[in-house]
Symmetry: C2
DNA sequence: GTTAGCACTCTCTTCTGTTGAGTGCTAACT
DNA sequence: AGTTAGCACTCAACAGAAGAGAGTGCTAAC
């Protein structure tokens, strides 16, 4: 049995119908709706073939057919064309993204919201950790007496700051000296390689300006630690509730629990992501609880690290819309990073 | 008809039972469970009285009684004692909060998670905007050629930074001069009062170092703008799904839509919040869609502004636990702000 | 290879009867 | 006068039965 053009056409019609209605598609209704030139009986025969081949399945004997996950996979791989965003949507995205360039966190959550609003699916963005970037530069800026700010810059351009307390007697010049000593010591070390034992060594070596050193090292320590955290943003959970496949409260509960846990979401998305848009359908997901969900996602580069942007929806998903949207968002995110960070 | 001690005791028993089971409480079952010294018939009479007084209601004629919202209000006001966190819980909170002092955003989301995990309700934290704090200090730190960081400090101690591009020919000394000029100009102005027209004026006045000025003012402009945004964090939405009163998907959808929209949540919580723990029960909420929800919340001071921390759950809520937890969290948040920011 | 006809299957909805928890009322009791 | 036992009544929830409707698979004709 082979996949000829007519079978393809029928499979496509079923996928489109099912994505739209979430109901099994019957032969009769389908012929009518798509104005096919063949009779319902013929369609029934072809459907039986497609079922044998594994592309369709029947919820029960007397129902219509629905695409199997294999059927969706075939559709996605061989027949689907990614649908680009409309100009209006792109305009909206641009406007929104560039109006908020201020705070990276807000850009990201804005984009996540945009994604879920446009597609009506749940969106997620995983912002990468930065622990493998290289230390480049450190500056100590005096504030009022007894206070200073430590400013830490990595070679990927990430800037962090933190307030510290210092003895009141320290002069700005002394601060500068300390900063210089630290800069020479750390210079060109991988952030990830600056361990606490390094910090300990340095603590012991330098007795002069012990207090400032102490506080500064403490701050660096904590900044390094903090930089190792990935951030996860999820938006549009509500869209899941709308899908009829998640009427079952238990199923829904498990899924929302999954998506509320940053850790879980991080582990679900494959570590190696290209800048292609990838699709995971149902069971292709690593987690059993996600067998009714599909993911459409891609990677982006940020401060030399890999971030991930994606959509989560039912298997019965408008993949063509999802891939198009993700693609557009990826390139805009990339552009903003390039330009502003 | 007056509220005597026996009626109180009965009301209390009903509230406790109902909070636990979510089922209407019958006279017979109640007498048995609480080992009351009176008969079911007597309890029935008292219940009828309490219903007349508005503290109880009956879902239908042949069901038990449930506390009305007025009943809950009476319970909360007159009979309830706030239940303090256990030592373990406080330890956990301390440990968690202080391990993450690095990034304020992460502290906050950690605390939100703690809140929802401990109480099994949905928690929210509204971080205040900072646009009315006073400008105190500005510093320009040179990075590599052609780049600098602008460091902005407000008198409430808020520190912000931002990378800018500058002409390569600018020396560190010139940068310092520019910073000084700007510091003198802005000194002691309310951040909120530094309007764009101010910025425009200054732009025109100073022609020297036009380019740096330009870029710096741009950065300040954008930092000021960015500082006006409240941030909202919601955690533990999943806990809502667990409550039997939200089995109804439509109701649930509306509620989750509410809580996913930052704007809505911001508008729900009263603007004037004391450092007392406040409780809004069901209809006392401003929004119709929240008539089945209660909120327990309090305010905290951050950089001179008012933030809000709260819990959202069903009307049938363990208010005693909620108030205790919120109170504990409030004081820890306050402490961390005092100490580290 | 395609189509019409028809018996058959299975879910979904509606209806009906039954069960059981709980009430309100009355009359007796302390 | 307040408290209690007894009893008829109410109403939601559950289970089973019947009917409707959509869809299939198969057979025979085109």
């Amino acid at each position: 049995m082979t996949m000829d053009e007519r079978k393809q056409k029928i499979l496509e019609s079923i996928v489109l119908d099912y994505v739209e209605t979430a109901e099994p598609v019957g032969s009769r209704a389908m012929v009518k709706k798509h104005g096919l030139k063949i009779s319902a009986a013929t369609v029934r025969n072809e459907m039986a073939d497609l079922e044998d081949m594994g592309y369709l399945e029947q919820p029960h004997t007397s129902a219509g057919r629905i695409p199997s996950q294999k059927g969706f996979r075939y559709f996605v791989d061989c027949m689907m064309e990614s649908q680009e965003l409309s100009e209006q949507e792109i305009d909206l995205l641009y406007q929104m993204a560039k109006n908020n360039v201020k705070d990276w966190d807000e850009v990201i959550s804005g984009i996540a919201q945009f994604l879920s609003q446009i597609t009506h699916y749940t969106s997620f963005i995983i912002m990468p950790a930065v622990h493998t970037s290289q230390f480049r530069f450190l500056q100590l800026v005096p504030l009022e007496k007894g206070r200073a700010v430590i400013l830490l810059v990595t070679d990927t351009g990430l800037i962090m700051h933190r307030k510290i307390e210092i003895p009141e007697s320290i002069t700005p010049e002394e601060l500068a000296t300390i900063a210089e000593v630290l800069n020479r010591t750390f210079s060109a070390k991988k952030m990830g390689e600056i361990t606490r034992s390094d910090l300990q060594t340095i603590r012991n070596d330098l007795n002069k300006r012990k207090k400032v050193m102490e506080v500064t090292l403490e701050a660096i320590d904590s900044l390094l630690e903090s930089s190792s955290g990935e951030r996860v943003v999820v938006s549009g959970l509500i869209n899941l509730l709308k899908e009829p496949e998640f009427r079952d409260l238990d199923k829904l509960k498990r899924i929302i629990a999954l998506l509320e846990e940053d850790v879980v979401l991080r582990s679900i998305v494959p570590n190696e992501v290209s800048d292609q848009v990838d699709i995971l359908i149902g069971n292709e997901n690593p987690l059993q609880d996600m067998k009714d969900l599909s993911m459409v996602f891609t990677g982006y580069k940020s401060f030399g690290e890999l971030g991930k942007i994606g959509l989560i929806g039912p298997v019965r998903m408008e993949y063509w819309k999802a891939t198009g949207t993700i693609e557009a968002v990826r390139s805009i995110v990339q552009e903003i990073i390039q330009k502003y960070y």
